[in-house]
Symmetry: C2
DNA sequence: GTCCCTGCAAACGTTTTGCACACAG
DNA sequence: CTGTGTGCAAAACGTTTGCAGGGAC
């Protein structure tokens, strides 16, 4: 898929060094990061990035729909750049590790919807990962 | 089902006025409350209840399994006394109203589990409720 | 009487905000 | 040049903790 940075540029985003490293930090292996983890990754490349800029930027990416905000059980928000393919999550409740999984979306019958207009479904499998299981 | 208070007493809980009103606040209509909403309800009956006691008590009820902690999209924790019957949630992303719904649990195939030991599944339908839809 | 619970206030971690300056367009 | 993004620091927010006193059992 088109890289996140290009998608942002195409939206007319002013592309600053800070935004570039933040977008780059979201790409590749580093999914499901907290804002602080994004900050740490961004600072490895551009040490003067400020915490506020990371929060501002992440929030904006979320509000334009280029990033998915998922609320972890510990109350910290995580950010998922994998917006294009709809997926769900497998979460280790012990260490917080999170994997993407693909399962069919559950659905509500008309009368179960209580007149609500359904926007989407989120499925989270709570689990213990192999590492944490063997540690116990 | 046995009232929450009786279940707590049976566990050998020291039953103080504070704990009683907190447990009572959780019963009946008032499900999915934030800690602060629980505090407000508790104070209507017993004005000198402190915030810390509410947090302590809720956390203890969660840890012994008499209460379910669900993390709302806004990052605030909510508490669900409805532990006995396994259910899922229908959430209005606008006003935060939350309803219980019953749908079949999605399941992961063996190779989708990546060696994780599955503990449970949470399904949340993100939606807009009739009131918020008509307000827009 | 003992131990656990309580209240208060202060600490904590995460996220947001206000404001002057800087730089991408 | 203009407008928007930035850094910094302080505030806001929900939650947790330390400690002295009090009440359930």
């Amino acid at each position: 898929m088109t890289p996140l940075i290009d998608r942002l540029r195409r939206r007319g985003w002013r592309m600053t060094p800070q935004r570039r490293v933040i977008a780059e930090a979201m790409t590749g292996e580093h999914v499901h990061m907290t804002a602080d983890e994004v900050l740490r990754h961004a600072r490895e490349v551009l040490p003067e990035v400020s915490r506020a800029t990371v929060y501002n930027t992440l929030n904006e990416m979320v509000s334009i729909g280029e990033l998915l905000e998922i609320t972890h059980a510990d109350g910290r928000k995580r950010y998922d750049p994998n917006v294009a393919d709809h997926h769900h999550h497998l979460l280790c409740v012990e260490c917080g590790r999170m994997l993407d999984v693909h399962v069919d979306d559950p659905a509500l019958t008309a009368d179960q919807q209580h007149g609500f207009h359904i926007l989407g479904v989120e499925v989270t499998f709570r689990a213990r990962c192999p590492e944490c299981a063997s540690a116990a």
